[in-house]
Amino acid sequence: MLKWAQTNLSRRRLLGGSIATIGATAICSSSASAQDAHGNHGGPAPNVDAATPAHRSAHGAMITVGSVDNVRNGFDPTAMLTDWYTGVVSELPDGRRQRSFEITVEEKEIEIAPGVMFPAWTYNGRVPGPALRATEGDLLKITLKNNGSHPHSLHFHGIHSARMDGVPGAGVIGPGEEFVYEFYAKPFGCHLYHCHALPLTRHLHKGMYGLFVIDPDPARHPEYADAAKSRLLGSPENRQWQELAMVMNAFDTNFDGENEFYACNTIAHCYAKEPIKILRGQPVRIYLVNITEFDPINSFHLHANFFDYYDQGTTLTPTLKTVDLIMQCQAQRGILEFTFKEHEPGLYMFHAHQSEFTELGWMGMFDVLETLS
């Protein structure tokens, strides 16, 4: 007899002739409290108006609660932005340069959002793995050590022989084994590497991926020498730029095939809570890769500004000019170049323009400053 009540629960439409009149007011409260420490639930509510953290001014209460313990994780998303792994450089008899890298697979619980632990598979203890950077033409020797409990590999997006491809039968190694991937760095561009052991989805989504950037050799590109020089890490021209390494990723914490957390560089909302400091006069270059599993595409939208885009970074002239949004399918990547030179200082937001991703953690801020303190 009570069935009508329960059936009705799923009905949006209110039946006519209602007996009870209900005041209809739905209000967003302004009395909600900001919480800086995760252990602060239910603590005395600080006055929001008195001390509003920067991110609160833009997103109100719609944000994860608390902060992540970067020390326990062993990596800091802010430091990661500029942390390039350039390897150990040596000269070969023929005059060419060799770069040696060492990467160790390690199983590790990481905190991917405040209070939420994820059983990750990592390269060198971090997710994303180290951002490798070399110059076009270098001989690369990358030693992979598998300290995990499953077979793993390094599969580079680049040009190399079949033996070095990192797929089953060619560089996938069992627990306790070691393998050296050897090939020349080409073509220049913004690439990535990831584990290609099977099943692919699980190995990727557990955190086995990283940026693999090959800078152009200016000598080989005389027609665009200036552009090539500005891309070459460590050159005087390159030092004029602020370069940032960003990996768009996501985590399915309950293993239901849908992501619970989205982020740029693993930690949900990390750059919303700790905005990225940008010097107003200096142009910005972002090496961006999308390695989100389960969702076919991800995107990058910059507020109040436009940028030039180099799809896969394999050209020295933009493939898209003056856009404020690009999208990337899984494993797609590219280089974004823009400047805040004409802007007033302040907080400029960036995020995926899939609102769902944004609201589940993939949102950040550039804090444009006159001088870096």
Partner: protein, 400 residues
């Protein structure tokens, strides 16, 4: 043969004094205590620890929507204390406050409040993410402000309760003068009809109770709880009712009214809960359906009184006993109490209904002097059929 060993054992068992009996009781208690200490100290079961994360379970018991946003009462049912790390509403993370803060122990509850700007009449999904990354979803099917007990809302709820509870019973009781002086066959028909309608209510109530039980936290073992409460309520009412022999006349009518009243209380709880959950659009048609549906309840209460003299006060009392709880139920239910309470209330009602079924059937059997065969007589059978059929058909008016 079977009894021999038992007897021999009893023969050898020394007769213990009160004190040594008590001391012997200490032995099993001590063994249990030692077992517990050993289990915790040496952890002999660690071999079973296969690295799997703890089992987690979270039940959302109450949802309150007001101008401050959302408040949800959650009950943890994990193998270890649970930690709510983040909370999503409609696929977005929101700041939240938990009271009391910290991990929620097994069986404990906590209030989670979010400053979420909910939208009237629309659906919202709340998703709790624990520290292990497990998620627990809760749907607010239709967002409406949770009623607060003001004199105005209590009054309108009381009117609704009177329409679905008191009015139909009173109308049914008004048939009393017309039915008085009915022949024994009509009498049997009416009593059998009462049994029929009660049988319908019994099944209906039990099914509802089990449905609510399913929505309650696993720790309450909902279905077992419903059955136990129903049986206990049945036995208690039977033993009270039969203190001075099997109830007849006004006493039996009172028990029928009590059973129906308890049923109506549960019904009121569900209607109140429906208000809270946003299904408050009770159409006039629905309310009339309820009224019609419940009229037979009044006739059923009147049936045992047909052969005796009854005062008007008794009738008023019976109408209030059977119908009044609907009002109280709506009041309580609209305050969004947890499903296990509704399940318990409905289970008590089911037990009470079972009791009156037994007593009315006993009355039929006694009055016909035919033993159990009376239940198969044409007048009885047609009464049973009429009662259940009427209830079933009028129930169609209120099913959506």
């Amino acid at each position: 043969m079977m009894h021999e060993p038992v007897n021999r054992f009893l023969a050898y068992a020394p007769i213990l004094s009160g004190l040594s009996r008590f001391l012997w009781l200490l032995v099993p208690v001590a063994v249990l205590a030692i077992a517990i200490i050993w289990l915790f100290q040496t952890n002999p079961l660690q071999g079973f620890n296969n690295g799997a994360p703890p089992v987690e379970n979270l039940t959302i018991e109450r949802t309150i929507l007001d101008h401050n946003g959302l408040q949800l009462l959650v009950r943890a049912g994990g193998s270890d204390p649970m930690m709510i790390a983040q909370v999503q509403v409609d696929d977005a993370y929101w700041e939240f406050r938990q009271r009391p803060q910290g991990p929620i122990a097994r069986g404990d509850t906590a209030w989670i409040s979010l400053p979420f700007p909910w939208v009237l009449g629309e659906t919202h999904k709340v998703n709790f993410v624990t520290n292990t990354g497990a998620t627990f979803e809760h749907e607010i099917a239709v967002a409406v402000p949770t009623p607060v007990a003001t004199s105005g809302s209590l009054w309108s709820q009381a009117i609704l309760g009177a329409f679905v509870g008191i009015l139909p019973v009173a109308i049914g009781l008004m048939c009393y003068p017309a039915l008085r002086g009915a022949g024994p066959r009509t009498m049997t028909f009416l009593l059998a009809m009462t049994v029929g309608l009660l049988a319908f209510l019994l099944v209906d109530t039990l099914v509802e109770a089990l449905e609510f039980a399913e929505r309650s936290a696993a720790i309450f073992q909902g279905s077992v709880m419903v059955v136990l409460v129903a049986v206990a309520s049945f036995l208690v009412l039977v033993s009270i009712g039969r203190r001075h022999g099997t109830p007849t006349g006004l006493a039996l009518a009172t028990y029928i009214a009590l059973g129906i009243g308890l049923h109506n209380f549960g019904e009121g709880l569900a209607i109140g809960a429906a208000f809270t959950a946003g299904a408050a659009g009770l159409g006039t048609f629905l309310v009339l359906g309820f009224t019609l549906h419940n009229i037979t309840e009044g006739i059923g209460i009147a049936a045992p009184l047909l052969t005796i003299k009854t005062t008007l006060t008794s009738f008023i009392g019976l109408a209030l006993l059977a119908g009044g709880p609907a009002v109280v139920g709506i009041w309580v239910g609209s305050l969004a109490y947890a499903p296990q309470w509704t399940a318990i209330a409905l289970a008590i009602g089911a037990g009470a209904i079972a009791q009156v079924i037994v007593e009315v059937s006993a009355l039929i059997v006694r009055s016909r002097n035919q033993g159990i065969a009376a239940l198969l007589a044409p007048s009885t059978f047609s009464g049973l059929a009429a009662g259940t059929a009427f209830m079933y058909i009028t129930a169609m008016l209120v099913k959506i």
